[in-house]
């Protein structure tokens, strides 16, 4: 029975190996591979196909649903991934744990294509470990039919008795604290214990008004009118909802904008470094970067790609590209570092209240 078990495991391995091989129909036998670990919906199929055809490299794309999952996989060692796609604060975490390789800029071309905002960002000075791919803002999504035609411009509406039971917050600590901190006039990146505590109070106060915390189908809830206002991450399905529904709007709160950005980075123990560099150069090309916007409603960090965006209304869709003046004063949400314990303590209290 034990031997059978071993045989079974061996057979399983063989089956999958052959399964993988039969799945690839590009390139010759000794063509190299590239393993990408990214957010679902942020690496378009057509982009992968284009890369495979051009380089003959077989690409495997796996998707994760949280930065933390991705980091724990890398931290365990020998994950086999070459390129990962951490969000801004996750770049800091991964770098802190020595999981990412320093990028050799002698091998990279096309950094000039990026928007200034994403060159030398606060979370990764000098783009030492990561190159921005798609970005977005954390703002407010609202249904104007539900609000009775009222325009929403501020976080304060999310703390307004008037919309009680029709408000959703993102089910995410860092995102919730953006609203909590900014409504009190603090920086969304506050590291101050008293400020975080004040924000916690506001969030606990706000909880009575909430229909719930939701970071999965909140866009549908706004479209259907189940929610009047929801805290929202711009991009993809939110952008699509704004584009296709006249009464669905997305705004950056006047208290200040915040940015998130998902970046490509090369894993420290990447088995296929050369292929990884090819990928980095490839994704920096304007025509490739434009695919993310054209197909998935994501805002590309590549300013040179703007001319190649087929649906020009996307450039004016605030849920895709934030207006320039607002973008200018927006800040990245970075990792709170040691101040994390204030946030942990506060958020636990908010959720348990």
């Amino acid at each position: 029975m034990k031997r059978q078990a071993l045989v079974a495991v061996a057979a399983a391995t063989a089956l999958v190996l052959t399964g993988c091989a039969s799945g690839s129909d590009t390139g010759s036998k000794d063509s190299t591979e590239l393993n990408v670990y990214a957010w679902a919906g942020e690496v378009p199929d057509s982009m992968v196909k284009m890369f495979e055809e051009e380089t003959g490299i077989k690409v495997t794309v796996d998707t994760f649903d949280s930065n933390e999952t991705m980091i724990s996989k890398l931290a365990a060692g020998g994950s086999g991934y070459d390129v990962v796609e951490p969000s801004q604060y996750a770049v800091q975490l991964a770098v802190g744990q020595n999981l990412l390789a320093e990028i050799d800029y002698d091998k990279i071309e096309g950094m000039d294509n990026l928007m200034d905002k994403f060159r030398d960002p606060s979370f990764d000075p000098g783009n030492k470990y990561s190159i921005p791919w798609v970005w977005g803002t954390t703002g407010l999504m609202y249904n104007s039919t539900c609000t009775g035609g009222e325009e929403i411009t501020s976080w304060s509406s999310m703390f307004d008795e008037k919309y009680k039971g029709k408000i959703y917050m993102l089910d995410n600590m860092l995102a919730a604290y953006i609203a909590g901190l900014q409504i009190n006039g603090f920086s969304a990146n506050s590291l101050d214990e008293a400020e975080v505590a004040k924000a916690t109070e506001s969030l606990i106060e706000q909880k009575k008004l909430l229909a719930g915390y939701n970071s999965t189908n909140y866009d549908e809830l706004v479209v259907s009118g189940d929610a009047c206002i929801a805290e929202a991450w711009g991009g993809s399905s939110v952008a699509e909802a704004v584009a296709t529904h006249d009464d669905v709007h997305y705004v950056l709160p006047k208290e200040g904008g915040t940015l998130w950005v998902d970046n490509f980075a090369i894993v420290a123990d990447a088995p296929h470094t050369d292929a990884a560099y090819k990928w980095m150069n490839f994704m920096l090309r304007p025509e490739v970067a434009a695919i993310a916007t054209n197909e998935d409603y994501m805002s590309t960090a590549n300013v040179a790609a703007n001319d190649l965006i087929t649906d020009k209304t996307m450039l004016d869709n605030p849920a895709v590209f934030a207006p320039e003046d607002q973008l200018e004063k927006s800040e990245f949400i970075v990792d709170p570092g040691e101040a994390m314990r204030f946030y942990q303590d506060g958020w636990t209290r908010v959720k348990a209240s």
């Binding site: 029975m1 034990k2 078990a5 949280s66 933390e68 999952t69 980091i71 931290a75 800091q92 975490l93 802190g96 744990q97 959703y168 089910d171 995410n172 600590m173 860092l174 909880k207 909430l210 229909a211 719930g212 915390y213 939701n214 999965t216 189908n217 809830l221 259907s224 009118g225 189940d226 570092g337 040691e338 994390m340 946030y343 942990q344 958020w347 636990t348 209290r349 959720k351 348990a352």
Partner: protein
């Protein structure tokens, strides 16, 4: 849990106090090797790591850095954790009681059918659970939410009904849904062992429906009921998808808190400590269940 499963089986199978051969110990260990290896490598070793990590510290990037401290356990003394634990225990208790009541009714009905029909009914009970959990949960969201048939029907009748998602009602509904077969099967198994003539005798002696059940059937199905209670109660504490998707994530269950500690808070030591506490609590509840069973068996 093992004890319950084994013991609920006993009344019906009548295990004679047979001598179990000790001489063939070597053969027994040979049989046990694959299981023992799996358990040691894939359950005990990981749990030792979790236990170890519960006393460790982690750096600001979330990496566990070793060291030895009781900090994580001490931090759990904050009333906020007691509240979460209390709330989870409450939800688990409510879910268990409701599942037991429904489970008892359903089992009682099934046992009265012909063997052929009994099997069909059991099959019908289990089949829905062969479909993807998330798909089923989203179906509930669709059904109970705005634009769903339930609201549509209510509005058609002129009943002003709010969408049921998110709500605690929806969470309870989904929990009962998820754990119903868990409650039905052990109770059914134990009811099947009851001699039907006992019920007839009780009726002949003038017992009403209620009396028959309170004095005869329910006491005789106690092993199954306790088993069902444990199997429902213990896993409900670890639930985390249902409260988030159907409850709006406003109430924190302990399973949910552990996930947050492991991910967003990147505080693995504290997550590990909370898990150890949970483990002890669950083992205790199982031990109590087993003791209750034992006591019952002795008195019987």
């Amino acid at each position: 849990m093992v004890t319950t499963a084994a013991q609920t089986a006993k009344p019906a199978t009548v295990v004679k106090p047979r001598r179990k051969p000790r001489i063939q110990n070597g053969y027994a260990w040979l049989l046990l090797t694959p299981g023992l290896l799996s358990v040691l490598l894939l359950a005990v070793w990981p749990m030792v790591l979790v236990g170890r990590n519960s006393f460790a510290t982690s750096d600001q990037y979330g990496a566990v850095t070793g060291g030895f401290t009781f900090e994580s356990y001490l931090a759990l003394f904050d009333p906020v954790y007691a509240k979460t634990m209390g709330y989870s225990l409450g939800i688990a208790a409510i879910n268990t009681v409701l599942c037991l009541i429904i489970g008892y009714i359903v089992s009682n009905y099934i046992v009265a059918q012909s063997p052929q029909r009994q099997s069909l009914l059991l099959l019908l009970l289990i089949v829905p659970f062969w479909t993807d959990f998330l798909v089923r949960t989203f179906a509930w969201i669709t059904l109970l939410g705005n634009g769903g048939p339930i609201l549509w029907f209510a509005h058609l009748l002129g009943i002003p009904l709010d969408p049921l998602v998110p709500s605690q009602t929806a969470v309870m509904l989904a929990l009962i849904y998820a754990f119903l077969p868990t409650a039905v099967f052990p109770i059914y198994a134990s009811m099947r062992g009851i001699d039907p003539s006992l019920k007839e005798a009780a009726t002949d002696l003038g017992c009403g429906w209620w009396q028959t059940h309170a004095r005869v059937i329910a006491p005789l199905s106690t092993p199954g009921i306790i088993g069902a209670a444990l199997l429902t109660f213990v896993p409900t504490l670890g639930v985390f998808v249902i409260p988030v998707l159907l409850g709006g994530g406003k109430e924190l269950l302990v399973g949910n808190l552990i996930v947050t500690l492991y991910t967003e808070f990147r505080n693995q030591p504290m997550g590990a400590a909370l898990s150890m506490v949970l483990l002890v609590l669950m083992l205790l509840s199982i031990a109590i269940g087993a003791l209750l069973l034992k006591a019952r068996k002795r008195s019987a």
